[in-house]
Symmetry: none
Amino acid sequence: MLIQIDFESDTPIYIQLKRQIIQGIALGELQPEESLPSVRQMAEDIGINLHTVNKAYNLLKADGFLTIDRRKGAIINSSALSLSENYKAELEEDLNYIIAEAYCRGLGKEEFLNLCSELYSKYIK
Amino acid sequence: MLIQIDFESDTPIYIQLKRQIIQGIALGELQPEESLPSVRQMAEDIGINLHTVNKAYNLLKADGFLTIDRRKGAIINSSALSLSENYKAELEEDLNYIIAEAYCRGLGKEEFLNLCSELYSKYIK
Amino acid sequence: MLIQIDFESDTPIYIQLKRQIIQGIALGELQPEESLPSVRQMAEDIGINLHTVNKAYNLLKADGFLTIDRRKGAIINSSALSLSENYKAELEEDLNYIIAEAYCRGLGKEEFLNLCSELYSKYIK
Amino acid sequence: MLIQIDFESDTPIYIQLKRQIIQGIALGELQPEESLPSVRQMAEDIGINLHTVNKAYNLLKADGFLTIDRRKGAIINSSALSLSENYKAELEEDLNYIIAEAYCRGLGKEEFLNLCSELYSKYIK
DNA sequence: GTGGTCTAGACCACG
DNA sequence: GTGGTCTAGACCACA
């Protein structure tokens, strides 16, 4: 899986990495049971420090996206994540703002929903 | 308009402020031509630093949401914002990630679109 | 509050720190709303690196023991923690082993319960 | 005796192994004079490294739980272990922290003692 | 060779 | 001045 970091961006590298891995999982590029490159390997591949990779991996672990096996390294989790109340609250808050801005900028409801629908389709196999 | 800052949140205060003002505009609580409290007033109301309010106002100005007049203070812009390519690209990127995570966490397409639809409805007068 | 780190111990420093802070809370030495020393201050006080302190603080934050306020630094949480299933399962597993060993080493049930009772009493105001 | 290793756990495999053997002894599943599977056998059974089993066995030997005989392999010790001061100090320290956390998380004294009592009962024949 | 821990030092965002 | 991020380099525990 190809990771693309934007070093100019103001979103931290470890966040960018975390997000791309999640997208990789959603897209099916990363299959359950599959193992990610070791922190050192991944760090070398994208030209960043291993601690930064470590941070991303640990966050993904905390979120339940992967488990860290002492023998095999980081492994994509097969078990579907639970739809926690916590997550739903955060999602709603994020969407709430995004939609408010979209509305202000003149992006109508239809258009917005169409955009979401189109984007979601990418993840359905 | 009531501003509610969560001081324990990870999102910077000036971002929270900016977002709430945008939501206020979207909800119609803040009408075009209406003027916001002065930087000093707003800072005192919420109990935050003057610079923080200033930063939020300036970002809103840069985004075209308000004009800053030396005499009248910050005024909500009446002119509808243009749907800039820049904005659309950013929106798409944000949504892309949000949807990927929603998908991973088991929030189906229907549910996601329904949620968006419901949230959007709040802004339609 | 006095922190005592055992540099010879094989339990990581950040874990020792985390535990002592929790004990401090339990003992009432650290009161809700009270703020901890800044990471730099604490690091200097106990003669360790600020990153190590940071790690402990962040774990405590993740566990809900404290919140990190942008203005005031790390603050002891007032809200009682919820008795999560997760925690109970871990506690039971830990106790299970501890008790098995106690039993093997000849520490009887009465003695064990008395010890627990005595230790618990320290935390009741 | 059935050994169950959680490869995704934070606790090292050799520690998990050691603990389960102690629990096995406490439960009476492993009787004095009984001999454990050979290092090689055990390693194969659980699917772990030979050195890992070796480490667990040696720790158990150091703690007096078993004797390692070149011909007969690892044998459960019949002699009751002594209640060393060392052990008692460690136990007290561990319990001290566990109880502090339990208190913070809202697990009352009664409940805690009941839990301990219940868990201890499993080991009394 | 793997991740985990710790240190040191630098820069930045925030308030 | 605060915490957050990133880098670099070192040592250790684990398997």
